[in-house]
């Protein structure tokens, strides 16, 4: 893929730089020494059992081919350090260790190499280190995202064994460890657990940018940013970090004014060559969400021209009737990783959604809403995607029925809520309909349900999907989840998956914002029922 030229907007880059957070640190210690034993009832077919208490660890000695797994209790992002002590006649050689940082049990129960992944195996979370002059402290210079640490002693010598002492992680996040987040309205334990895991996910992704995944690929993606920012506004309320991320994108317009799908902070700010039409279009809504949540209209005004630029490429896909045509350019339309997805209907809904949000943003900052006519035309063209017999939206020449097409049509508000809700429900009941693969797409289905009066359906989906991850033992929500296949991966090898992934952190947003009224009414009804007793 050839990259379009980017002209860096220095003023915006400087604004972003000035907003770069000092990361907050917490020191985290392992909680126990474990091993995994087979358990066919568990999602990962194994369960952890404690082999030693953590108090025992400093006195345990390990020689060649020994290994140990430490459980840090939950997912953390940070810098590992430990002391290598010795049980020695002589320390007459270096020690060679392999450290493997596991987000899930498979990372530490299986060999990572050779890998079947189609993407870079440099992401695999293992390191081999040679340590001279024991006893000594070891400070790993790289940042890792993990819950489990496996240490394999590749060799010591015949004259000494090693001990692992003062093992700790300097965990980092842009979010203050002590940040206070309001309690959920609902006291439902399972929903509170989803909220807690969402927050942990968001916290671990919130670094000097909102990363997509702190293990892989540690980058700011526009689509992920939008969902992280929404979740952030109703939890941690770190407006500065959201603002910084907006300026980072605004600093990197391509020559046609479109925005890159993602960007690199290091070694210097630069746009990735990836371009995604839907992500480009979602920049406007992301600015709108920010302005609405923060009240910072000044930033929205400053980014207004960028917003208009970001709509150009998406709009170029509209035919004269205002119908989105994915074939208009070869540019990537994403929506989800589900295989064979036809994006015409979903993109139509998404672009219409974005036009409406940008119109709202215009009003908010005193600009003329630029897309009133287009919204009208696109709304009119929506009917051409609707199959009255099947009562769902269909997409492309094969008239594909997918959950995500329904979701974005619903979110666009092009048709009455009850029609949208019926369409989503119909697709979800149709075993032949294309299901989403990523939490990113599941989010849009869940939000669409709730926005159309299907709050109970939304909750059921959340309990099934994010709840499924929670039941599988997730400490943070994953990049990809298939309840039937614990090895599901978009990359050919689940060891390359990210198990703390930004775009899956939205249950907090769904529970706190999208379902807010629903819970209020529910709570009110409950109070009334109680009063009547």
């Amino acid at each position: 893929m050839a990259s379009k030229k980017t002209n860096i907007n220095t003023k915006f880059a400087e604004k972003a730089e000035a907003l770069k957070p000092e990361l907050h640190e917490r020191i985290v210690h392992p909680l126990s020494v474990i091993e995994f034993v087979p358990d066919q009832t568990a999602f990962f077919k194994c369960k952890a059992i404690e082999t030693h208490t953590i108090q025992d660890l400093p006195s345990l000695s390990f020689g060649k081919d020994d290994q140990i797994i430490l459980d840090f209790g939950s997912h953390h992002v940070g810098y590992l350090s430990f002391h290598v002590g010795v049980d020695a006649v002589d320390v007459d050689a270096p020690t060679r260790l392999r450290l493997t940082f596991g987000e899930i049990p498979y990372d530490v129960t299986e060999d990572l190499h050779p890998s079947k992944a189609g993407i870079s195996t440099s992401w695999l979370p293992d390191e081999i280190i040679n340590v001279d002059w024991l006893p000594t402290d070891v400070k790993m210079p790289r940042r890792y995202a993990f819950r489990y640490l496996k240490i394999e002693v590749l060799d010591t010598s015949q004259r000494y064994k090693v001990r692992f002492q003062n093992v700790k992680v300097r965990a980092v996040s842009a979010i203050l460890p002590a940040v206070k987040v309001e309690a959920l309205i609902t006291t439902d334990k399972k929903l509170n657990e989803l909220d807690r895991i969402s927050q942990a996910t968001l916290r671990d992704c919130a670094q000097t940018v909102f990363e997509d995944g702190p293990r892989r690929d540690r980058r700011l993606w526009l689509g992920d940013l939008r969902l992280q920012a929404l979740t952030n506004y109703c939890t941690f309320k770190d407006f500065r970090l959201a603002k910084r991320c907006l300026y980072l994108f605004a600093a990197l317009p391509r020559e046609d004014e479109s925005l890159p799908a993602c960007l690199f902070e290091k070694p210097k700010l630069s746009a990735a060559s990836d371009y995604i039409v839907d992500y480009d279009a979602l920049f406007g809504p992301t600015v709108y969400d920010y302005a609405l949540a923060s009240g910072d209209l000044e930033t929205a005004r400053e980014l207004w021209t960028t917003v208009l630029g970001s709509m150009k490429m998406p709009m170029s896909h509209l035919d004269k009737n205002g119908k989105f045509d994915s074939r208009a350019t070869e540019a990537w339309k994403f929506l989800d990783w589900s295989e064979g997805l036809d994006t015409n209907a979903g993109m139509h809904g998404l672009v219409l959604y974005c036009c409406k949000k940008v119109n709202k943003l215009a009003k908010l900052i005193g600009e003329e809403p630029p897309y009133l006519d287009i919204v009208e035309r696109m709304t009119g063209a929506t009917s051409s995607f609707y199959n009255k017999t099947l009562r769902v939206f269909v997409s492309g020449p094969e008239r594909q029925v997918s959950w995500i097409s329904q979701a974005w049509m619903a979110l666009s508000g092009a048709v009455d809520s009850h029609i949208s809700l019926e369409a989503i429900r119909t697709a979800m009941k149709d075993s032949k309909a294309l299901k989403p693969l990523t939490p990113y797409a599941y989010h849009h289905v869940a939000e669409a349900l709730a926005r159309c009066g299907g709050e109970a359906d939304c909750l059921k989906l959340m309990r099934d999907y994010w709840g499924g991850m929670a039941r599988a033992g997730a400490d943070t929500f994953w990049e990809c989840f298939d309840a039937e296949d614990s090895r599901r991966s978009p990359y050919g090898d689940c060891h390359n998956n990210s198990y703390c992934h930004a775009w899956s952190c939205t249950p907090s947003y769904l529970l706190r914002v999208v379902l807010n009224e629903y819970f209020k009414v529910e709570a009110h009804n409950w109070t009334r029922l109680t009063d009547q007793k």
Copy 2:
């Protein structure tokens, strides 16, 4: 092996610490990009061919599974750094590299793992590193000893390749790079080459102590120290470093006043549990050599008590007739790694040699020579090792004939030179006689030959043995050499051998000191012959 208690002599340790050198640095760059191709005529069955000039290197790009070998032209000890550049659409993943530091071709032409070595495989000279945020500089924190650097690109990503730029080594040694060493008397090219390789070996082993090998095991051994010091006095003349090493041993007497065979500088000064009777005995001669070479009698006086202590354990092996009996204690008598060596005769010669040197040391510093009687008795007992029929010294109940027994008997000066010379020559001609394995033992054979009037024999042995290493391509002399077997190793795997090893650096000493008179006479004769023309 249980370690005897060591009581650290703080005063001596402080003296040693004060003598710790600041290492001198040289920046060394690779000279060419090579690969090894089969060559059945070469010792290592391969030869290097240049695939790219070093000027081409910065522009070469390497992706997954590519590799490169850089040739630094000769052996160096130091710290590697390089810049990882990119040839990229996007640098969207870390890069994972395996670096292998080769002293000999096999290190970089073969897989090091799995290893068949019986000693710690943590010594194997390879590292796997993961590098974030390219382009970037990489500074390897550990010290390596090598000539060849193999870089294997384990992975980049599909979107970028890496380039290696500004590759360099900060080579370190206690010896000044610009140190002037007198020319040899002889202009023989081959002998001058041996002298040059000896100096390179000594330079690379001379760090904050005289290490046995800068690759493995980076420690100060007493027996190696003696030979390094002797070579040092006639080349670099770094008396401070020799003095420091003497004080380090003197700082670590064991409870019976014996000295450890080796010691660790880091992480703090401590004795290894290794004890070798012959190394203990050789401390006195090492002090004597130092005092004689440096003129620093003050140090010799201060170490006198330590010298006397170091003789106790060796002397405890003498029977009432003054005959050394290896069975008297279970302590390790080394002399050489040759398999099945009976040490009785060799140790008898060695201890007698040491007693005489200590008597000389006493005279030098105004003390009473302590071993006059013992020398007399031991000299008398020497005949019991001599087999008049075979005209060689035999050792132990099996009446073993070995080169090294003859060598130490000769060096002891117990019998007339011509008898000693005959004994060595006889053993060397006897195919059943046990040959040495290590350059350490070959040195003592070579020196013994020269000291007994067999200078030409000595030179022949040097040309055969050290010359054999030179012909095999040695940049520095090796821990172990067998002209018939390029994989010979005391450890079961030659990848664990050290190919820059202190105890093989003595050709310079042999050429400059032991053979000095011989060359002078030769030069004189040559001049006379020329004059007569």
